[in-house]
Amino acid sequence: MKKKGADRSQILDRLEHHGGLTPGASREIHKETGIPEADIYGVGSFYSLLARPEPKHRVCQGLSCKMAGSDARVAELKAAGTPYEEVSCLGQCDRAPVAIDAQMELVSWGPRGRVSPASADLPINLAGKEDPNWTALAAAKQMGAEAVLHALEASGLQGRGGAGFPAHLKWKSVRSQAETTRYVVVNADEGEPGTFKDREVLLRRPHLMLEGMAIAAWVADAQVAYIYVRGEFSAERRAIEAALAEAAEHVGDLDIRLVNGHGAYICGEETALIEAIEGKRGMPRLKPPYPTVQGLFGMPTLMNNVETLACVPAILHRGGAWFKDCGRNEAGSKLYCISGHVVFPGVYELPLGVSFNELVQAAGGPVGTLKGFSPGGASSGFLPMSLADTPLDFQSLAKVDTMLGSAGVVALNTTVHMAEAAQWQQVFFEDETCGQCAPCRIGCSIQRRAIDSFLKTRDPADLEHVEDVHWEMEAGSICGLGMVASKPLQTAIQHFPEDFGQ
């Protein structure tokens, strides 16, 4: 029960200042704040950066890093006696293998990734000159909120976080709520394995995101905007802070709060992210109610992904139709991340709906002979090369029972055994499931055990329940993570039966 004046939303910050969930930290913070100590412990123990706060190298175990030899780096650190932990994908797949060091700064053992060459015809134009002139916000105010919504609708912009929900519907919904206290939240908790596009926006074009956010807040009539940035992103946070310092004079009285993540993939899920801002365990909420109706602190909340917001200024400058025409079957350009077995991994802004083959060509061609790919992050599973000409957009991929998601594309060549690739991804989901609901919590463990034992025995019988378990995870889980958390194993078996002795 809430004690008067005990504000839970400060738990995570305070734990961070205490150097993580060290013994006694819960009691100290309890004494400082009146928040029950078990609650503090329960919250802190959920987030890996707080639960295991010791200074050390955190070595990425993402698919691309695994393929680029992260195991060898771990072996080196071990031999040198350097403290280390193997951690979930750090979102640096284009420069794999990577780690973050004890000061939370990036250590990359790979080449620097690329981005699309600068071009005035790209809505985001990562390589373009960062020019924080804030004219889009002024234009928005000039044209009025309804006109902004019309432009957004005309642009066909779909949420770039993974679900592809039409942006204008979300904005309208929040704007139409009777409750007048509203929030805008920027989801900068990029964590889907294989994905690093928001990272590039934050580093190269932060003001586009800030301006999009300011426009969203103005349209939604929100007084406070939160930016929730992934805990492992240090350079990115500094870039936001620098841009915020410049933004101060342009955003008027919008109260902007930068909130740090603390190591939990699930907080990329919008309701889990809201829980995290409220200082709780990042466990997704039941939907309905949706955040647009009851979100942060129970109030209507407009949450958008970094890339989504970064598209908004161009839409207002050049019109919805122009943006729409940047895409093929679906609207706009898209920041595609590609890593793994291609010559130049990186972030390429291409028409929404290019195929995997086209994307590989944009990235300088394949390395070796490709056997398959992951189209949209770990959650999308794996596809065979027979589907390499499928448009990488929301609808086309849904038709082949997968998804574009965050467009974190990974190319795999014939050196990769799909059972191993599937195992790496299942380890990720077992580590990152929040544990709230049984289908996901138990299902992740069952699938992980199944692939572990198959890799030991090579006996297909170890995999006999994979489909049933996958079915239940999809049908019974609370949130999207559980629904897709066994996708890697299920699709690997489906599309690459030869790697599973079938």
Binding site: M1, K2, K3, K4, G34
Partner: protein, 535 residues
Amino acid sequence: MFGAGAMTNSIPEIRDTELMFVIGSNTTEAHPIIAMEMKKAVHRGAKLIVADPRGIWLSDVADLHLQLKPGTDVALLNGMLHVILHEGLYDADFVAKHTEGLEALMASTVDTTPEWAEEITSVPADSIRQAARMYATTKKAGIYYTLGITEHTHGTDNVYGLANLVAITGHLGVKSAGLNPLRGQNNVQGANDAGASPIYYPGYQRVDNPEAQARFEAGWGVPLSPDPGLDLNIMMKQMGKSIRGLYVMGEDIVLSEPNANRVEEGMNALDFVVVQDIFLNETCRFADVILPAACFAEKDGVFTNSDRRVQRVRKAVNAPGEARADWEIICDISRACGYPMPWYNDPGEVYAEMAALTDQFAGITHERIAAEGGLQWPCTSPDHPGTPTLHEGAPIIGKIGLQPTTYRSSAELPDELYPLLLSTGRTLYHYNSATQTRRAEGANELQPVNFIMMHRRDAKMRGLRHGDAATVRSRRGEIVAKVDVSAKMKSGCVWMPLHFAEANTNRLTNDAGDTTTNTAEYKVCAVTVEAVQSS
């Protein structure tokens, strides 16, 4: 109050209340299950005002904590009355219809401004104002109190003050509102209801009322005395004087009565003492005869709880050895003394005899309780459903007389020799004289010895640290207790529980009684505290 000494409303109504004014009740420790209802109400968004000298669990979640000096309740309540009456926040309609004496109450509170009350209580005037306004302007607002209100020499005035608040705001006969004394023991209500009182027969029929006397004389077949008897506090003081013999059932008076040293002297001066209990308690040291009794799990009967709910107690196991149910023992004693108690087959027949003599219980039988669950009196006929909320429609006594009260200080206040104000109470883990809970493993691990809660400054001044043993002394006696330095205490005030026979807090407490009820002033006396001298 208002014609019935009980909660006006029901416990399950609490969860739906809009405001609770909790005064003189550490509800989470003394009545944990009622506190759960209060927590539920807070969870739902109800406002909570707590008046208590200590920081208590409820004050942590309260909208307002009025941390008054012990014994200054009348001043606080008159300050609130002043605000409500003189800001015109009272329910004029209810007052006109159902009360009398408004002018006198108005007049008596002209000068009792919040600023005046702040001087006495040390509660900020603004908080008093805010509390009064919140209480008066909320429809479903209930008052909850317990012994922190009654165990004072001005306990009756405290209750009048609360009753005035309820009456002028019309918070009576309304669900989830009312005036609600939370009873300390399982069957305080039932014992009072059954006439264990020097002035009342069962059902609050006065012994000096000739009609009542005639009714019971007819029922019991003997002439009865119309003279009110002595209350317990006076009995204790008269031991060895007018009182020469005692029959004590289920009560450890040496431990639970105030000024224990004087109680012991009095017990020694008695000619004859019978004690009937389940354990060999402190009072047994003075007994001539000790009769082993059955505990609640070993007998049948009823307990009546705080909200007037008559519920069954059922025999689950046999009593140990030769122990017998109290009701059987009393009957045997009575017969041996020449009065022929009927040969009751079971307590249901005893209840039926009482119900036949008491209109309020006339509809209650063991059989009905078995079939319907607890029944709340008044329940006047076999088809009466019982009364969850009293005074619905109109007060049962007709017009409520508003009672002006005047602040008087407690009988014994701190002075140079005894500079600290001691208040007493009960903890969550123990129960009263603790003959039962101190035989429970868990409670003893949590609270093995008597302790004294004090403010850090008071401890430091005396060279005491948390955990030190200290001698606590009053004009009446001294004991040793462990120092508990606590941020919950106001400086100048200390607090001790009542559960420890070997360090009986009641050796310190004052037996000065309330001017009307003679209830003793457990809640305020003066003490001095010092480190135990190492010998």
